[in-house]
């Protein structure tokens, strides 16, 4: 008999159908992955199983755990089950822990809530559980607070809380999405090990197909609240009966053809740049310390070159971006564009800024919600000595919107009327409108669904063919950097540890850090290999 048996579940919230006819099972010791893009209903399925749906929700069908129907249980009975029989791990380890309680207390709390054991015994079991998730007591005493741990370590604490009572089912909702690749690999290994040791069923929700293919024994693909395909990982990947599954995999492995360019005249020159941040004072009259975020970094971008910059969070990529854009001054070294410094005499050099634009990560945060698209994308005109006005301006706006695949009529709409991918097109339009010589893409596709990401990458390649773009593409996502750049820099702890042509760095990394990054990145299985197997 299956551990978890979900049959014909329909979910309505208010007037909206969220899930329709969702049926799935999980066996003890089995890892099942639910995958799909945003809005596919994968997280709602998890919340329905946990009984954590909003009040307006109406569920029909049946959800059985160990033969007991969860839908007929009262809230009090569900409270007894949550934590005891079903554990849950959330995406964001920064917010899933209470910042004012020690990690020992938080893990022990799960035990105390469900079993009337003395506090001392609960703490002892908390210590054991933390040991199991790789936080041994000698190095991580129970008295640690969440802020004293790294993101990966916090996620381990969250997992410890979920498995403290050895639940029969663990639901993990995007457990590694907020983590760096090397940390992600470790957490995935941990989840795999725990599933095997405890004979626990693991229902994992993730948008990342490479993770799914690597981890899961069975895959469930969802779209618009329906399950479009499910099956054993190997079989499903080989057959891919449903066109949506095929599209999803194709988009994940999407590659673009960049036109060849001759790039030998330097455009941007970064020479031995260091950037310090002042730390807060520890005592009232003590000199504040400083933290060196970027240390003696030097590189050039040649005209027509597409340069990638990869590194994990906290490596100094964002600091370097701000320095290049002239938003902040640097403590040592120089940054010049066409020989002119980007920041001089205490202020950004606007003559240089005219030649540079940027596209940010968050398609929702990068527009003033109260400005129409036209006003938003014309903002860089502020840099021009005589910006176009009247009909000329309208023509430039229309032309730019068309270049990024939008309609000129969109100029009069507000940002919230567009989807995430369309907003990212608008952001690119804003960067293109003054025809800059260098564009900085700061994690520009990281927040997008795979199919939208593939379209934006195609757009980028198209724009390269039409305009000979020069850009700096900053990302933590190695597969994306690989396809859209000619040359790549790898950054670790504020230093550039390796640089070279993209293909050769990825195929034969020389620095140990690059090697570990590439080894840790989850990879999509070679689909052609599977077909012939």
């Amino acid at each position: 008999m299956s551990l978890l048996n979900v049959q014909h579940v329909h979910l309505q919230i208010g007037e909206h159908d969220i899930l329709s006819d969702v049926s799935l099972t999980t066996d003890p010791g089995e890892i099942v992955a639910i995958t799909g893009e945003s809005g596919s209903g994968k997280s709602m399925t998890a919340l329905a199983i946990m009984g954590l749906l909003p009040d307006a929700a109406h569920v029909s069908g049946s959800i059985d755990l160990n033969g007991e129907n969860l839908l007929s249980k009262t809230e009090a009975q569900m409270c007894a089950l949550r934590g005891q029989s079903i554990g849950m791990v959330f995406q964001e380890p920064m917010t899933a822990l209470n910042p004012v309680k020690t990690i020992g207390d938080q893990v022990a709390e799960t035990i105390l809530v469900h079993e009337g054991v003395p506090k001392a015994e609960a703490m002892a079991r908390a210590a054991q559980t933390l040991q199991r998730v790789g936080l041994p007591r000698e190095r991580f005493p129970l008295s640690r607070f969440p802020h004293e741990l790294s993101g990966g370590q916090r996620q381990r604490v969250v997992i410890a809380m979920a498995i403290a009572l050895r639940p029969s089912l663990l639901i993990a909702d995007e457990p590694t999405t907020a983590l760096d690749v090397t940390t992600q690999a470790q957490i995935l290994d941990l989840l795999k090990r725990l599933t095997a040791e405890d004979g626990m069923g693991l229902l994992m929700i993730t948008h990342d197909l490479a993770v799914v293919a690597d981890m899961a024994e069975r895959i469930i693909v969802m779209q618009h609240g329906k399950i479009v395909e499910q099956g054993q990982t190997h079989t499903l990947l080989r057959e891919m009966k449903h066109p949506y599954t095929r599209a999803l995999f194709a988009a994940s492995a999407h590659e673009v053809d960049l036109p060849q360019t001759q790039a030998d005249t330097p455009l941007l020159q970064v020479n031995k740049v260091s950037r310090d941040y002042r730390l807060p004072r520890t005592r009232l009259f003590a000199r504040p310390g400083s933290f060196r975020a970027v240390e003696h970094v030097s590189f050039d971008i040649n005209r027509g070159e597409r340069l990638g910059l990869v590194g994990e969070s906290g490596c100094g990529k964002s600091t370097l971006t701000r320095a290049i854009l002239g938003l902040e001054d640097v403590q040592e070294g120089t940054i010049t564009l066409d020989g002119a410094p980007v920041f001089g005499a205490g202020r950004p050099n606007l003559d240089v800024r005219r030649k540079m634009q940027v596209v940010f990560q968050d398609p929702f945060g990068s527009f003033n919600p109260r400005h129409r698209v036209e006003r938003a994308i014309c903002e860089p005109f502020h840099l021009l000595a005589d910006p176009p006005t009247g009909q000329a301006r309208a023509d430039v706006v229309a032309e730019t919107l068309r270049a990024v695949g939008l309609s000129p009529d969109d100029a009069q709409k507000y940002p919230h009327q567009f989807s995430g991918g369309q907003r990212q097109r608008i952001a690119i339009a804003r960067a293109l409108i003054i025809r800059p010589e260098l564009i900085v893409f700061d994690e520009a596709v990281s927040a997008l669904d795979v199919s939208v990401r593939a379209q934006i990458l195609d757009l980028l390649a198209d724009l390269c063919r039409q305009n000979d773009l020069t850009y700096l593409f900053i990302s933590h996502d190695l597969s994306v950097v690989r396809t859209v750049t000619d040359r790549v820099l790898v950054m670790q702890s504020g230093k550039i540890v390796e640089e070279g042509p993209t293909a050769s760095v990825f195929d034969s990394p020389k620095h140990p850090y690059t090697q570990s990054l590439i080894a840790a990145a989850p990879r999509l299985p070679n689909l052609e290999g599977l077909t012939h197997a």
Partner: protein, 271 residues
């Protein structure tokens, strides 16, 4: 949710309407004494009764609302006019000396009990509506400066502000173009609440005789005049008391309702 907005705006507009009508018409002249008719209970002729000089209470309430509204309005104006630019400036120079000076100055004003200082100011410079306005207005400045700075700080971290900086716009221009429109909701709600607090403060000042001087009627002084006769004619205290309560209640409900209504997240859902 919508209900508080409707009730709040009805009550508030009732008061504003009464004040506006009083400029052109009141049932009786609010200054004319009519001793024989004094201390009458509400009747068809005098809807709210008459006071100890026989003046019509309804007329006095109507004219008195002018004072309350004018004092509160100008006091909020002082708060918005000085506090918002200061808050924007502090947020734009976050952590710099301007931020420190502005915010520590705010703390200094906050450290004093506002009503006591208002009494001090009006005692030193003389009782009167103008001095009451200034005294109440000064204490509105740090409120608006803080609300503005708080809202602006989170916006300065947003990517659209970074984009504007990349487009070479200066701090002042970004504050006006990008920050201010996005905190307007916050300020409108805060202004409504400060408005009601201003009406209360004016009533308190004129209750102890430091607000608008006779013969200008004011709700606070009507209450003060009534207190010796509460057992004799309770309506003398009830009428201005209820007027103050309903006005403050109305403005608070309006502020609450506006906050919900202006919430951009809910508005996106509406369009």
């Amino acid at each position: 949710m919508k209900r508080s907005l409707i009730i709040g705006s009805l009550l508030s507009s009732l008061v504003v309407l009464a004040a506006l009508i009083s400029f052109v018409w009141t049932p009786f002249d609010h200054t004319s004494l009519n001793i024989p008719d004094r201390l009458q209970t509400p009747s068809a002729e005098h809807l709210f009764g008459t006071d100890h000089f026989g003046r019509d209470m309804l007329s006095m309430i109507m004219v008195g609302s002018r004072t309350s509204i004018a004092v509160a309005f100008v006091a909020v104006g002082i708060g918005v006019g000085l506090g918002v630019p200061l808050g924007l400036w502090a947020a734009a120079r976050q952590g710099g000396w301007a931020d420190e000076i502005i915010m520590r100055g705010n703390d200094l004003i906050f450290a004093f009990p506002s009503l006591v200082i208002a009494i001090l100011i009006t005692t030193i410079f003389g009782a009167g509506a103008i001095n009451a306005i200034i005294a109440i207005g000064i204490f509105n400045i740090p409120v608006f400066a803080r609300v503005t700075r708080g809202g602006a700080l989170s916006l300065w971290a947003r990517e659209f502000v970074l984009s504007a900086r990349v487009a070479g716009k200066g701090a002042a221009r970004i504050s006006v173009e990008h920050i201010l429109p996005n905190i307007a909701n916050l300020l409108i709600v805060q202004a409504t609440i400060q408005f009601s607090l201003g009406i209360l403060a004016e009533a308190a000042l004129s209750y102890i005789g430091l607000g608008a001087q006779p013969p200008t009627p004011s709700w606070g002084r009507m209450l003060a005049d009534a207190q010796t006769m509460v057992s004799l004619a309770p309506h003398l205290a009830l009428v201005p008391g209820v007027a103050i309560i309903l006005t403050v209640l109305g403005l608070n409900l309006l502020g609450d309702g506006l906050r919900d209504w202006l919430d951009p997240k809910l508005r996106v859902a509406r369009t």
